[in-house]
Amino acid sequence: MTIPTSSIEQVIPGQGSMAQPEAAKPSRAKRQRFLFVRNKKAATGLVILGVYVLIAIIGPWIAPYDPSARSNDLVQGPSAAHWFGTTHLGQDVFSQILEGTRSVMLVGFLAGAIATTLSVLIGVTAGYLGGKMDDSLSVLTNVVLVIPAVPLMIIITSVLNNASDTLVALVIGLTSWSWNARVLRAQTLSLRRRDFVEASRASGERTWRIIVFELMPNLTAVIASGFVGTVIFAVLSEITLAFIGVVSNSGWNWGTILFWAQGQQALGQDAWWWFVPAGLAIALLGTSLSLINFGIDEFVSPRLRSAGKTKLKTASGGTVRMRIGFTPVLSNSATPHTHAKVVATPVMREAK
């Protein structure tokens, strides 16, 4: 369910490709650090996510109704009074969505944070220290990886009475760190023999300082992308758990809405308004996170960044298509030829 981060496994920020003498312009270079935000996809994603965060914060206050309050409008379609219609108890679906956002965001981000922390701790440590430590941490990672996550979550949540959002987030976080840990370990392996790591070791830095201050900053993009991926996964997991009714969550989240809608056969009664909005809300949140992930991917790999710009505008307004292997030739060159001269021999020049 997470977006594969294979591209990130390949490229490490600021290395190799940047080792060209493009250094001279400090202001531009500095700005590059924030280039990620200027990425169109990432910006779109961030804006959508921002809206969700806002709703998560103020949702319960702006909700027109108490989401649990019953009324006499049973299973009513969308109307001015109830934008997303009502449930079998006459509850306002719109208010439920607004109120539910907080739990979804909380669980998503908390679980993401927990899983990311674990994956960093385990993945980076394993990758950097190597040897026995690496072996045992790798086994741990693999064991967690091969135990199916969702069933495991179901089991663990069923041990807990009345799991709160925090607890659910903890469970999701604890069961979903392994993939990222693997990616990070691979990344760290390729980083740890880098000269700058060796150099700081040679200059006498302590191991934990090397891991925290030398390695981790270079893994930020990978970590961030892993975080975003885990958030998506956590949101989907929470919703799944709520949907199948194993989480004893007393509050509202989108999964709860779907649970009720499904339990009451919302679609069977043609009450689509009860079922559809929550799903779309999830999809949109997921899309925004994926967009941010793309942004991170492109930020990390300049190749991907420029890959988007395949059509360039010339000064004269035309477009040029970039192709690998066939560099475009601009016939209407903007640069004046200092010595334009006709070739004496016949030239086959075809318009294409």
Partner: protein, 335 residues
């Protein structure tokens, strides 16, 4: 002097378009003659590789060729502009007429295919009628030519040492008997012993097969030893061009002089090493006038306003050489 095989005329290559474009190659004029080794030197970022890729249209995005011509003179038939060929024509022209050897041989060979496959698929693409058997015979022959025993045919690139890989690349470049071979820093990744072996071999093959070579490196001492003529690039332009011995003895452009005095000599008296102060220019924001003037010890008035034109200098031995420097204003521009 022999007839030309490849003439580069006013070639301009940019990275990107519009205001933020980097003009990596500007108004380059260069002629390669049949059978000669033309050396191209200049420090990192001066546009050597861009020129090589640009004239073959192999530049990766966002590179664009913004003007100029690359006129190719085939052995038979009329000359034509390579930049004007259709995709099909260009594909047919590539390798058959002009082959390229890149800097990193490890990266030039597809890691997942055997070298035999990579050798024969050139043949397959350019001569589909050729039989399987004669293809592999030809591939074998080429390997032998570059001193690799035929039993390494079925090796994968990673199973060969760096030197062997580079030799495979050279063999592959010659497999269609092209007229021109462009070599972009073919030996920088190798150590000196290997470097000498390979270059020696190349020179020998050139004598036998008669192709011309454009040899790119920033190691001037290597060029002086191995090439017939040398062109020196700075900031995307050719700043000086002359026969190798001439440049070595008497470089005219201050930058060429600087380059020549930057490497220590192994033999003879220890000579003065002056180096070049300052750092290479930023191609995106080139200084006005001669782009070398901020670093030039001899810069004077016109240098910071007007761009010197590459032309025949006013020196006594000016024949056959050209320079772009206000110290030696051109008598007759090249082009």
């Amino acid at each position: 002097m022999a007839e030309p095989v490849l003439e580069i005329r006013n070639l301009n290559v940019d990275y990107g378009l519009g205001d933020r474009a980097v003009h990596a190659v500007r108004d380059v004029n260069l002629t390669l003659h049949r059978g000669e080794v033309l050396g191209l030197a200049g420090e990192s970022g001066s546009g050597k590789s861009t020129l090589a890729y640009g004239m073959t249209r192999l530049l990766a995005p966002p590179g664009v060729i913004t003007g100029g011509e690359v006129v190719y003179h085939p052995q038979q038939g009329p000359a034509y502009d390579v930049l004007g060929l259709t995709d099909r024509q260009l594909r047919a022209w590539r390798w058959a007429e002009t082959a390229i050897v890149f800097q990193g041989a490890m990266n030039s060979l597809n890691p997942v295919h055997k070298i035999s496959t990579q050798l024969t698929d050139v043949l397959k693409a350019h001569d589909p009628k050729m039989s399987e058997h004669s293809r592999s015979a030809r591939a074998r022959e080429m390997l032998k030519l570059v001193g690799i025993s035929a039993d390494r045919m079925d090796a994968y690139p990673h199973q060969l040492s760096g030197g062997m890989r580079q030799r495979v690349m050279i063999g592959m470049a010659l497999i269609l008997q092209p007229q021109v071979v462009i070599m972009d820093e073919p030996t920088t990744a190798l150590d000196v012993v290997m470097q000498r072996q390979i270059l020696g071999q190349l020179i020998e093959l050139r004598e036998r097969l008669g192709f011309s070579v454009i040899f790119i490196t920033h190691d001037l001492s290597l060029l002086v030893e191995f090439s017939n003529r040398i062109a020196i690039m700075y900031g995307g332009r050719i700043v000086e061009e002359a026969p190798a011995a001439t440049i070595y003895r008497d470089a005219l452009h201050p930058y060429s002089k600087g380059l020549l005095s930057s490497f220590p000599a192994l033999r003879g008296p220890k000579r003065e090493l002056a180096g070049i102060p300052g750092s290479p220019p930023d191609l995106a924001g080139m200084p006005a006038g001669c782009s070398f003037h901020p670093r030039c010890p001899k810069a004077f008035e016109p240098c910071n306003s007007a761009i010197p034109v590459l032309g025949r200098p006013d020196t006594p031995d000016g024949a056959g050489r050209s320079v772009a420097c206000w110290l030696h204003p051109a008598e007759q521009p090249v082009g």
